[in-house]
Amino acid sequence: MKKRWLRSLKPFLAFTGGIFYLAAASPAYAQESSINAGDTAWVLASAALVLLMTPAVGFFYAGMVRKKNALSTITMCFIVAALVSIQWVLFGYSLSFGPDKGGIIGGLGWAGLAGVGQAPNADYAATIPHLAFVIFQAMFAIITVALLVGTVVERIKFSAFLIFATLWTTLVYDVIAHWVWATGGWLRALGALDFAGGTVVHVSSGMSALALAMVLGKRKGFGRNTMEPHNIPLVVLGAGLLWFGWFGFNAGSALASNGLAANAFVVTNTAAAASTLIWMLLSWSHGKPGTLGVATGAVAGLVAITPAAGFVGPVAAIAIGAGAGLICYYAVLFRSGRNIDESLDVWGVHGMGGIWGAIATGFFASKFINSAGANGLLFGAPRQLLIQIVAVLVVSTYSFAVTWILAKIVDAVVGLRVKEQEEEVGLDISQHGERAYAVR
């Protein structure tokens, strides 16, 4: 009916196959000589684990919103997986990891994964197929965008979200990923340590969430109507799958199946545990030890250990986890006292947890754990701490500022929010034409 522009896409879609095919005509030939099957197995398994984290975030968030917005929340996360996967293959991977342009961004040489094949790329991972690296990294881009859903729930227009997400992935995520992780990226060249995405994933999404929430504005009835989480077992399902998937996230970031991967695995689990216990104790001291708190504590610990996982040992992990519990707890408490509807505390948990983790890496990092890493303050290298702080400041500022601008633009052009009545009825009905649960 009204959506004629969508209809007009159809012939274009039919055409697409033909065009794209050309680019694929000469995929890289397999030269498997240097591939290690064990390393490849672990990285592929890890990529699968990280993919699972995106629906997991969907459940984690959906359980915390009201029933009438449950599907909207899940669907935004799910569609991010699709959207970013395609963006990544078409140009996202190339922008992030492609041939460096002045330390700032990758070129388009690897667009459509041209020249990216089954043989390893020794710059990134010498013992696994280049395609394994590509897909492992794809999952990181996806989950980072999915994290932003937590800040826009219950009021964003679905179409506006899709547009914003595409822009954000390209202009914020891909850029920061290049700076921190790509050969030639300027923060990497500076010596910033980020084992599995403390800055790239968590600081970037956390600070962006704050900017986005400020542009988007509060939910109708925020602070006045009760907004009870509608399904806490669903939240725990999400948290459980996140904990599970995070082993791929962190230990997979060793890009090999070795002692370092095992170390990252152990410290990931340990930090999550420490943070969970601290959150439990803190919330107990203020009231009762709730399930939501415990689940949030676990995520905070996982966030904080992310940049450090390949540079610190298990005892430092306890400290990092405990610090995450403490800092994120008070960050969430602080935010809930303000009048900012950063709805599901992406800033409080991922932003502040990521900042703490990145800085803590500058304290606790040790070449005993990873000879390819660096020593932190506690091992006599205060400079590393400084570098970490610079990286945090740069990533925070860039992501907050660009997000603010993008959000303002999208708001001006298509409008970020649904109509008031649509918000009242709920986004499930108004944006997706569905109800999460039938009455009978």
Binding site: E228, S283, G290, L292, L333, S336
Partner: protein, 112 residues
């Protein structure tokens, strides 16, 4: 004929149901409702903070009863539902004009 409507605590439903059954009053209809009244709401946890909910879960019991028996039923419910704390609820009685059994078409007392 009368309709008895009782708003009670969910945790008393088991005892109330058993008490009625023991005295021979099996028939009833039960609905999950929420209520507020003199009892104050509850404080719930949200991650690091807390919030108030003023609607509390309650059970609504509906029983259609003979004019001669409704007072007995009210008494049974009251005893079994009582804890003595604020929030025990109310029992309300309404007039009924007609009752028909779907299966047989019987009306009035015969339909009970």
């Amino acid at each position: 004929m009368k309709k008895i409507e009782a708003f009670i605590r969910p945790e008393r439903l088991g005892d109330v149901g058993r008490a009625l059954e023991e005295k021979g009053f099996v028939s009833m209809t039960v609905t999950d409702v929420e209520g507020r009244g003199r009892q104050k709401g509850i404080t719930l946890e949200w991650r690091a903070s807390e919030y108030q909910v003023d609607l509390l879960p309650k059970i609504k019991l509906e029983i259609i009863a003979d004019d001669k028996e409704w007072e007995k039923i009210v008494e049974i419910i009251r005893e079994a539902a009582k804890t003595g704390e604020v929030g025990d609820g109310k029992i309300v009685v309404y007039p009924v004009e007609e009752i028909i059994r779907v299966r047989t078409g019987e009306k009035g007392l015969g339909a009970l």
